[in-house]
């Protein structure tokens, strides 16, 4: 069995601060994976290392057999946790940017979803609410037909109704040759759509497990399992 994403003993520090310490992780195709950890625990750093937007201190990363870097980016659709375009640009600019930049971009699919969410391409990006801008970026990302989707905090500013629509859209567009990794701490929303979960704790890989196995073995929901794993004992003692 070959893996779509292989991270081997990956470490990263910023100055003296170690953010990721010896992370080894392998993901197969045909999975929806949740990357969940408390805020500031290195989720975005991990994703940026896969994209090679940050440089590894140690270890190696391959995506579909290609070392992390510009070549590997071709098989990754990345949704950053912040704005991708200058707000003065029109939405149509963002769409044609994607069309030019990515040969795997499906414009028809993109237009269909823009219509679903009533996003008018003649308007500027800054005219969108924060939540709608997030939806726009998600649509652009999911309109690529590629192997690995890295989606960083897709739901943060979106209202509950649109959250549900986004989840449905991710499910509908998910294809078995690809893997989707979603970083989020909104566990209730993604609980039932995940195959596997990856948790980072104290800079290390804390667990990589099937969500159904967690339910079976612990009798807990993912949300409870997460909280119990990370809850600090405020009244003394370590954990």
């Amino acid at each position: 069995m070959s893996y779509l994403l292989c991270m081997d003993n990956v470490s990263k520090s910023f100055g003296k601060k170690k953010v990721l310490d010896g992370i080894s992780l392998k993901l197969k195709s045909n999975k929806i994976v949740g990357l969940i950890s408390p805020n500031g625990s290195g989720k975005t750093t991990l994703i940026k290392l896969i994209m090679d937007y940050l440089t590894l201190d140690e270890g190696s990363i391959t995506v579909d057999g290609i070392s992390a870097g510009p070549m590997a980016r071709d098989v990754i659709a990345y949704l950053p946790d912040r704005a991708m375009f200058n707000g003065n640009r029109k939405i149509s600019y963002a769409v044609s940017y994607y069309e030019t930049a990515y040969s795997d971009f499906d414009k028809a699919k993109c237009e269909k979803y823009l219509k679903t969410f009533e996003i008018n391409t003649d308007e500027t990006i800054s005219s969108l609410s924060k939540g709608t801008a997030e939806i726009l970026y998600l649509i652009l990302t999911l309109s690529r037909n590629t192997k690995l989707y890295l989606i960083d905090e897709p739901l943060a500013s979106v209202d509950p109704v649109n959250r549900e629509i986004i989840i449905t859209t991710i499910l509908r567009e998910f294809n078995e040759d690809s893997t989707v990794m979603i970083s989020t701490h909104l566990l209730n929303e993604v609980e039932t759509i995940l195959d596997e979960v990856v948790m980072i704790k104290d800079n290390k890989l804390f667990c990589h497990k099937s969500v159904e196995e967690i339910r079976e073995e612990t009798g807990k929901s993912l949300n409870e399992f997460f909280k119990d794993s990370f809850r600090k004992n405020w009244f003394g003692g370590d954990k």
Binding site: N30, K31, I32, E164, I167, T168, L171, R172, F174, E176, E191, T192, I193, L194, D195, E212, R215, E216, G219, K220, S221, L222, N223, E224
Partner: protein, 120 residues
């Protein structure tokens, strides 16, 4: 609208229970064509692999059959559906008896209560 799950139990098991219930209750009738895995997963709001696993389990139990060309259908074996209906009713009855015993009723008294409740 997605289905309502208890997230502390494996989702695939609950899907099996829900679809079984829909078949024995006649919402899906014998021989009915079923949605594809993808459609089912989107409606339920669950991972497609989980849905696939649930449908495979239902195939194993015989309630669902895969036709070579026309996808999945509910079995046309009405005997099997009847048997499953009986099993579902037995499960419910056992749970009911547990409760009525706990409040001090005998099985016969519990049956009388059901008859009474049916008239309300």
């Amino acid at each position: 609208m997605s289905w309502d799950f208890d997230e502390t139990r494996p989702i695939f098991q609950q899907i099996v229970e829900m679809i079984t219930r829909d078949i024995v209750s006649g919402k899906y009738k014998a021989g009915d064509k079923l949605p594809s895995v993808r459609e089912f997963a989107v409606t339920a709001g669950v991972n497609p692999n989980t849905m696939q696993k649930a449908l495979s389990a239902l195939e194993e139990s015989g309630l669902i059959v895969t036709q070579r060309n026309s996808g999945r259908t509910v079995t046309d074996n009405t005997k099997l559906i009847g048997k499953m209906r009986k099993e579902a009713a037995l499960d419910a009855a056992k749970k009911y008896l547990e409760i009525t015993r706990a409040v001090g009723l005998s099985a016969d008294e519990a049956i009388e209560v059901i008859k009474e409740a049916d008239k309300l």
